[in-house]
Point group: C2
Chain length 250, copies 2
């Protein structure tokens, strides 16, 4: 990785994510690295959730004091930003000789697995489109899937953002349901028929009719991992991209 970039030319978030700071030349050798701090924070988030990630808790995990962390990261916000990139694994290799659709589908399932594996990633503040080393690996892999489809560059970026946006949004909605402990789940509505006394036919005609028809009976939406919904949405999104590709080839 080239570090020949002029750091002052780049946005602060890029300098942060790509670790473009100057290494120190004097003084005691640091006990840890910034990556150590980020890894400790990720361990805490994995074990206890993102709300447990305080500077004190990360310091305890690392084996240092709270204030020592500020030698490695400028603020908690910066730490969260670094976590939002470092917590992603690498995208899978594209299957050899596969067309755009199986590649895009594999990519979508793989990135969904990342968010399922680390649901707290969905709760981190979004600071913009992907710019970190890991996020860009995923971005690049999806862009590559659309190479040779006839979509121009802007459309390939749009298709990538569409697919990513869909999967993230679906995980964002579903993960708070499937990641809750069972006693808490009962307090989250996953079947609308219990709303029957509240939703009048006048104000909620379609919903009231579906409830009256028994469409939300016991097995509707019981698929707590959201797999059926995900498949419907994924097929629709890929069908939509296929339509855009057809138009681009005409």
């Amino acid at each position: 990785m080239s570090n020949d970039a002029h750091p002052h030319d780049l946005p602060a978030v890029v300098r942060l994510l790509w670790d473009l700071g100057e290494p120190s030349r004097r003084g005691p050798k640091p006990t840890f690295t910034r990556d150590d701090v980020v890894a400790a924070a990720i361990e805490v988030a994995d074990a206890e959730g993102i709300t447990a990630v305080s500077m004190g808790r990360v310091a305890a995990q690392l084996g240092s004091s709270t204030m020592a962390l500020y030698r490695y990261v400028a603020s908690k916000d910066d730490l969260l930003t670094l976590m939002s990139d470092a917590a992603f694994g690498l995208p899978p290799e594209a299957p050899a000789g596969a067309g755009w659709r199986p590649r895009a589908e594999q990519w979508a399932r793989a990135v969904r697995d990342e968010w399922t594996r680390r649901p707290w990633l969905l709760k981190l503040p979004v600071t913009g489109p992907p710019t970190g080393p890991r996020n860009l690996r995923w971005f690049d892999a999806c862009l590559a899937a659309f190479d040779g489809t006839g979509l121009d560059a802007a459309q390939r970026v749009s298709a990538t953002l569409l697919l990513s946006t869909y999967v993230r949004g679906e995980r964002h909605l579903m993960i708070d349901i499937s990641s809750r402990p069972p006693e808490e789940l009962a307090q989250t509505l996953i079947s609308y028929d219990v709303l029957a006394p509240l939703v009048s036919a006048e104000q909620y005609p379609a919903l009231a009719r579906m409830i009256a028809d028994g469409e939300f009976d016991d097995d509707f939406g019981d698929d707590a991992s959201g797999d059926d919904d995900f498949e419907f949405g994924l097929t629709a999104v890929l069908d939509g991209i296929a339509a855009a590709i057809e138009r681009a080839s005409a």
Copy 2:
């Protein structure tokens, strides 16, 4: 609206959002209502952003003390949950005699306008699928658009969630860009060509090639409101739902 529901049968979040608590029968008349508190909080969020919404700031806006708020809401989390429903307006009337696609498209644009109008809504924690009175009006309106399309009930819900997920995700990504002040925007990357020194062709082949080809030159992505991207995605999502409808009719 019927309040004959047995409140103890319903999840806590439904009881909260539908205001199923018992009204008080003794003691001084309260100076405000819960809706007053929520409205004050929304005013603060509109004027100063969601991070300014503290219990103290809301109390100041309302004209009461901080601790008095706890007579109306149990916690700040409950206040945020109430805001997440109350801040939505009503969905537009469907155009008379229109087919599913223009109705769904109008709905998508309208809900996008809601999130554009109140971008802080996107930063509120998501507690599950829509269950509040206002959110369900939007949910119902979109479900209604898919009536008569041949999609079964589960598919109509999936299509609605797909459309909503897409629009929300697109706004979630784009809003942090378009809502920033100009001096902050320069610190957010909206053109990838500045990453050229960082993204090696070995690790980011598709991205490096696009940068080398000048695909991210000055006017790429300058559409800060994301309108072009939004149109691509909306067309693709609706094309995908159209394909699902065709399969359902076969």
